[in-house]
């Protein structure tokens, strides 16, 4: 197990290297520069800026410097937020995104598992059909539609919740969390339902019933583990999707999270900030997937690394 973890951590290095290199290349391919605005700037100033930020050096020097910054974990100074270190921006934006993501996934797990398990227990009942229809809608509705609709209904028509504004962690998170969580809630509900249905038909559940165990014990002790295993394995990919989803949701609700900064950084061609966010999130995704695999081995004793 320990060897497995170390090996996986080790392959994280080349993977992050590939991701940041691709990102770096793409920034270079994109037209424009951080100093190009609507108004053209005098050539002398442009020359100065290029020199100041090392853009006049050969590409491999710039690439090497970028890799160095990633390796050191110090991504330098933002080109757009003048004078602000990228690490400082990451530190301020991370809690926002992490909270948004964690709450969304938690909500998806709680509601999704509950709906999925109940649907499986009452297969083909009205409850089953209702929750699976809701899940279908949840999966097909993009968050950039769902978000504004929720705002329209709950904030602008009924005035129940604030539409979009960041004033710390509180009630203003409800709409973004629901928007981001909807798709995962739907996926989790479907995975939980099909997983439970399969397990409830299995031989070992029949054995548990043949032993005279109460239905509650059959469900909680015998069925839930195997039935929810697909939900556990989904947690890995879910994080990757949550991150992309968060980019959109943070934008819609104007939350100062990594996603929102990421969009701004791209619009501004703010290379250090882009590289910082990309490197950080790819490491987070890889480590989180590792944690999921480790958790899997704890749930399923047959899995050994």
């Amino acid at each position: 197990m320990l060897r497995f973890i170390l090996r996986r951590l080790f392959v994280t290095v080349p993977m992050v290297l590939v991701v940041v290199s691709l990102t770096w290349g793409l920034i270079r391919l994109a037209p424009g520069n951080f100093y190009t605005g609507e108004k053209p700037i005098p050539p002398a100033i442009e020359q100065n800026l290029r020199q100041r930020y090392g853009l006049d050096r050969p590409w491999y020097v710039q690439y090497g410097r970028m890799l160095g910054s990633v390796a050191a974990g110090d991504f330098g100074i933002s080109l757009h937020y003048i004078g602000q270190p990228v690490n400082g921006i990451l530190a301020s934006a991370l809690p926002v995104s992490a909270l948004l993501g964690a709450l969304s996934y938690l909500l998806a797990l709680v509601v999704g598992v509950a709906a999925g398990v109940l649907a499986a227990l009452r297969q083909n009942s009205r409850l089953d059909y209702a929750s699976m229809t809701a899940a279908m809608v949840g999966i097909s509705l993009p968050n950039f539609v769902l978000g504004p609709v929720l705002v329209l209904v709950f904030a602008l028509s009924w005035y129940w919740l604030p539409p979009a504004r960041w004033n710390g962690f509180g009630i203003n998170l409800i709409l973004p969390v629901v928007t981001l969580s909807a798709v995962y809630m739907a996926y989790v509900a479907r995975l939980a339902r099909s997983g439970m249905l399969e397990v409830l038909r299995s031989n070992y559940i029949r054995t548990a019933r043949a032993k005279g165990l109460p239905e509650r014990t059959v469900l909680l002790r015998h069925a839930v583990r195997g039935g929810l295993l697909p939900v556990v394995s989904f947690s890995g990919p879910a994080l990757a999707f949550l991150i992309t989803g968060a980019v959109v949701v943070e934008r819609i609700f104007a939350l100062p999270g990594l996603g929102n900064y990421f969009i701004n950084a791209n619009l501004n061609r703010d290379e250090p900030l882009i590289i910082g966010i990309v490197a950080f999130t790819s490491i987070a995704v890889l480590v989180f997937n590792l944690l999921v695999d480790v958790a899997y081995a704890f749930v399923d004793p047959r899995v050994r690394y």
Partner: protein, 330 residues
């Protein structure tokens, strides 16, 4: 008047709803199991053996299954009339079951200790420590080496034969009055099969438990059962004491089954007899005998009139128009 039987199944009918059709998996089955007796149930695949055992246990999946008629009288009470809670107190405690496939019958996510102790904690009110000690004793009884060291292992750490031993020890841990074993050895190697059967007979001798041994292999029940029930298409075709059934089968279907048992005296490579044709579709009701299309003895009456279950002696019955003839002149 003889002692009342431990289990008496009367006119049991268990059907399955399948789209537009109704599969009559068990249809009008009656039999008895006395205390301390071993009854073998044999029949080809699909003859309703497993559905019979699940009906007795109250474990028929519903839907699609439903018990449409009959009584399952166990020690004087009709199990089909019992509520869920009362039935649960009987399952695992007074009637226990061992299933065919030991590889999937144990929960892969739970330690053997958890799976063993939950039964006795539930039914016998054992404390955690008592239940554990009891489980270790049970595992030793069924011949698990180093039971104490292995009780906290998971099922996948045991071989198929060892898992079936675990299943048997779990089933017997509350000293049930009736043990139903549904093809307990079919999934195992031949040598392991013999060991498991030997174990069952020995445990039975020690505890006096009644056993219903289900199999499609007449060779398996020959050495173990006191009486044999032959099922075909959800019905009882013949019942007789084991020795008599082998010596003088009074039903053409039983004869076919007996002919298809490999005979060790027969020359190697000699072609084994097989009953021609396939079992009928249980969703279609036939006018006559369900076995008629495959029966060598069949006559016109077989195709028009369902054969009655003929009582031949106090211990023997056969479902055939020619039961008495066959019984008298083999």
């Amino acid at each position: 008047m003889a002692e009342a039987p431990l289990l008496s199944v009367e006119d049991l009918a268990t059907w399955f709803d399948e789209d537009e059709r109704v599969v009559r998996a068990v249809d009008g089955l009656s039999f008895e199991v006395r205390r301390g007796e071993t009854v073998g149930i044999v029949g080809e695949s699909g003859s309703g053996k497993s559905v019979t055992s699940l009906s007795v246990m109250g474990l028929v999946p519903r839907p699609p299954g439903r018990i449409v008629a009959g009584r399952v009288v166990f020690d004087g009470q009709d199990l089909l009339q019992l509520g869920d809670d009362a039935m649960r107190r009987i399952r695992g405690r007074r009637i226990a079951m061992v299933f065919q496939d030991p590889m999937t019958a144990l929960n892969p996510f739970l330690r053997i200790s958890t799976q063993m102790t939950e039964v006795t904690r539930l039914h016998l009110g054992h404390s955690r420590a008592d239940a554990r000690a009891h489980a270790i004793r049970m595992l030793e009884t069924v011949g698990i080496p180093d039971a104490e060291g292995r009780i906290d292992d998971y099922p996948h750490q045991f071989s198929g034969g060892m898992r079936q031993r675990v299943m048997i020890s779990m089933a017997l841990s509350c000293r049930p009055e009736l043990l139903i074993a549904d093809e307990p050895t079919t999934a195992l190697d031949v040598t392991i099969q013999a060991q498991i059967l030997e174990l069952v007979s020995q445990l039975k001798a020690d505890t006096g438990t009644s056993v219903v041994l289900i199999t499609h292999d007449l060779g398996v029940v020959a050495g173990m059962a006191d009486r044999i029930l032959v099922m075909y298409a959800g019905r009882l075709f013949e019942s007789a004491p084991t020795r008599e059934l082998f010596a003088r089968p009074a039903n053409p279907y039983t004869r076919g089954l007996l002919l298809s048992v490999p005979n060790p005296l027969q020359a190697k490579g000699a072609e084994l007899y097989q009953i021609p044709g396939l079992p009928p579709d249980l969703a279609e009701t036939t006018a006559g005998c369900a076995f008629a299309p495959r029966c060598e003895r069949a006559e016109a009456v077989c195709r028009s009139t369902p054969p009655p279950l003929v009582r031949l002696t106090a211990e023997r019955e056969s479902r055939c128009h020619f039961a008495s003839e066959l019984f008298q002149a083999p």
